[in-house]
Every structure is written in C-alpha cells, then in structure tokens.
C-alpha cells in the first residue's frame, strides 16, 4: 500500500495547507488543528479537525474550506469530523506558526511546562512591533476568543497576544 500511503500524505498536505479563516497567515497544519487524514477508499477521505476553543465559529469555515480544496484536487467524497479529544493546546502551534504570528503583529503563546520537563522561567510577552519585553495586560479577552489584549510600555502600541491554552 505504498501508493495509498503516498496519496494519504499528499491529501494531508493539501488539507493542511488551507489557511485559517481568521488568521490567514497560518495554515491549519501550523495551527495544529488537523488531527488525522485518512483515505476510506480510492474516492473518499475523512478528515479529523479539532477546534481551538469549543465555541470557535471558524471551525465551520475551516471544514468547508478543506472540502472545497480537496474537491478541487479531485477527491469526490470528503467528510470532515470535529473531534474534541485530546484537547487542543497552544503548544500544538508549530515553530513556523509562531514565527508567522509574530511577523503578523500577534505575540505568539508562551510554551507550557512539560509534564516532566524543566520549569521554564516566566517569559514576558514580547511586543511584536518594537521587540520590547516591557508589556502589560489590558484585557484577558480580545478580538477573538484565543487572544488577549496587551500594550507595549515602550512604544505604547496595543497588540494581540495569542494567549496560552
């Protein structure tokens, strides 16, 4: 089943390349919400997708976008299933995703402490505009459920922070 595996990998690459509808600089693969892509036969694909937040309204657009992209690439039957477990965490965002977020003006989430890993020093949130680490929290909630609103004490610009979940 070498062919099947290669096809599956290709379909996964296509599904993973779909941009996030609310943060179009990130792909679904980089956001870490694509859980599984499986061929259920030559013409049928099942995609497992997990929401960032339980109420995230973008999940419906993500599903529709995945279906559209796979249809366009010749997969006739696409079924996107939403899964909750294991719960998504901001640690699932790839390094490349974090880099892109910062470039886009959104401070990336700080890593959580691993179950057995070393205790990380408390990292301050860096201003994505001027790079200062002297920033303050304005509100735990911002333009979307996944962000907090902060302000840079040095350059005085407010900015979004992808808060840790």
């Amino acid at each position: 089943m070498v062919t099947g595996t290669r096809l599956e990998a290709e379909v996964r690459r296509l599904a993973g390349s779909v941009p996030d509808p609310e943060l179009p600089v990130l792909t679904l693969e980089e956001l870490g919400v694509l859980r599984d892509v499986r061929m259920q036969g030559p013409d049928k694909v099942t995609v497992h997708l997990t929401p960032t937040y339980t109420g995230c309204p973008a999940i419906e657009t993500m599903s529709a976008d995945i279906e559209r992209v796979l249809h366009e690439h010749g997969v006739p039957e696409v079924s996107v299933v939403t899964v909750l477990a294991p719960a998504w965490s901001t640690d699932d965002i790839s390094d490349e995703g974090r880099r892109k977020l910062a470039e886009f003006g959104i401070a990336p989430p700080r890593p959580h402490r691993g179950p057995d890993g070393p205790v990380p020093v408390t990292l301050s949130v860096r201003c994505p505009h001027c790079g200062s680490t002297d920033t303050e929290l304005l509100s735990r909630f911002s333009s979307t459920a996944c962000k907090a609103l902060r302000r840079c004490v040095d350059c005085r610009e407010p900015f979004d922070h992808f808060k840790e979940l």
């Binding site: 929401p51 937040y53 339980t54 109420g55 995230c56 309204p57 909750l84 477990a85 294991p86 719960a87 998504w88 965490s89 304005l138 509100s139 735990r140 909630f141 911002s142 333009s143 979307t144 459920a145 609103l149 808060k163 979940l165």
Partner: protein
C-alpha cells in the same frame, strides 16, 4: 440525557445573558470580554445539547418548564457588579465541576477536558473584577456587596446532585465555598450570611421551575426561530 440537558442549559442560558451586554458594557474591553465568555459557553452548550438531541430544537423550541438550568444563570444582568457576582459564583462552580468531569471517564470527559481550560479564564476574569470592585471605591464596594447579596440565595441549588453526573457533590460544595470565601475576603467583602436557597426555589431550576425573568429571556431568545421556522443566513 438529563445531565447533558442540565449542563447544556446552564451554559446556553448564561451565554444568552452575557450576550445581552453587547452594546451596553461599561468599557469596550469588557464588551469584548463578556462576548468572548458567552461564545465559549455557547460552544459548550452546543456540544452538550447535541448529546441530548437536536441542538436547535432544544434551544429554540422548548417551553420554559422543560429547561433544566439552575436559576442562578437565568437571573437578569443587573449592573456590572451584579453580573460579576453571577460570574464569580458560576465560573468557580463550573471550573471545579469540569475539573472533576475531565478526570473521569464518562460521556462528558472530552468536553470537560477542553472546556475547563476556557473556564479557567472566565474564573480569573470574575475573580480579578471582584477584587477590583470590592477593594475599589466606596461606590464599587457597595455595588459588589449588593450583587453578592442578591444572588447568594441561588447558590445552594448548584450542589443538588444531577442524575448521571457521578461526582462527590458535597466535596464540590466545600471546595466552592472555600474558593469563593477566599476571593471575597481578599476583596475586603464578606460572604452573605442568609440562606443559600429560598423556601420555594430550592433545587427548582433542575426540575424545570424557573424565576419570572426567565420567561421573558426565552421569549427574546426564541422569537426569531419561532417566527421564521427553518430560516438561515
């Protein structure tokens, strides 16, 4: 079924109440915060109600007596301190409850494991505001005190065991009391001393008995769906 309705209705009804703040919050940041908390709760409600049946039918076509939410979440918003008191009582309860559900192996485990991380932010939001209002000006202190007083009588019902939720409800109540006591104390306030359930209200929401404002809330929430069946946008 009963448990999914109870937990789902709690989340749905509180979500709607918080949504009523849109356009009315004291500052823009709180407008956004309350709407985001409402959105998290709505997502939890959709998942829970879907375990019990069709989410839209359950939300929009049930009569008042068929809802199983606690009476706390249906109470009107009042002023901002009143809403924060309701948020404190409910988010601490929901956080402690979901922590227990997430550690179990029942039908709510997956949802609870996900939602508990969201609810931790709701709880932090409520606690920070209780501290700020209680330990703020004489006016904010007095308003926070009034909010806690007014809602205290609805908190006993939170710990009436829900059929199908296999946890130690007395331990949950103990943890809730000590958490709430600690926050309120740090806010230079004291917990109300009155009874935690009215004579006729004790445990009534879970049995479908609701307070007067709930009917009006449902009328507004269900109006569009009932007036235009099957409409979509």
């Amino acid at each position: 079924m009963t448990a999914a309705l109870a937990l789902g209705d709690d989340a749905l009804v509180l979500s709607h109440r918080l949504g009523e703040w849109a356009g009315h919050a004291p500052v823009l940041e709180e407008e956004v915060a309350l709407a985001n908390i409402a959105l998290d709760l709505l997502g939890q409600a959709r998942t829970l109600l879907s375990l019990a049946g069709d989410e839209d039918e359950l939300a929009f076509l049930r009569e008042e007596r068929s809802f199983r939410n606690v009476q706390l979440v249906e109470q009107p918003n009042g002023d901002f301190a009143h809403t924060i008191a309701r948020q404190l009582f409910f988010s601490v309860y929901q956080h402690l409850l979901y922590e227990r559900l997430a550690a179990g192996t029942g039908e709510f485990t997956d949802l609870a494991a996900k939602a508990v991380k969201e609810v931790a932010y709701h709880r932090d939001h409520a606690e920070q505001w209780v501290l700020r209002l209680g330990d703020g000006t004489a006016e904010s202190h007095e308003r926070m005190r009034r909010g806690l007083d007014a809602l205290w009588r609805y908190t006993g019902e939170l710990f009436e065991p829900v059929e199908g939720v296999d946890i130690d409800w007395r331990a949950l109540e103990g943890d809730w009391l000590s958490a709430v006591t600690s926050v309120v104390g740090r806010a230079t306030l004291a917990l109300p001393t009155g009874p935690r359930a009215g004579a006729w209200t004790a445990g009534a929401g879970r049995q479908g008995l609701h307070t007067e404002p709930f009917g009006r809330m449902l009328a507004e929430m269900q109006h569009l769906h009932r007036s235009h069946p099957g409409a979509s946008w």
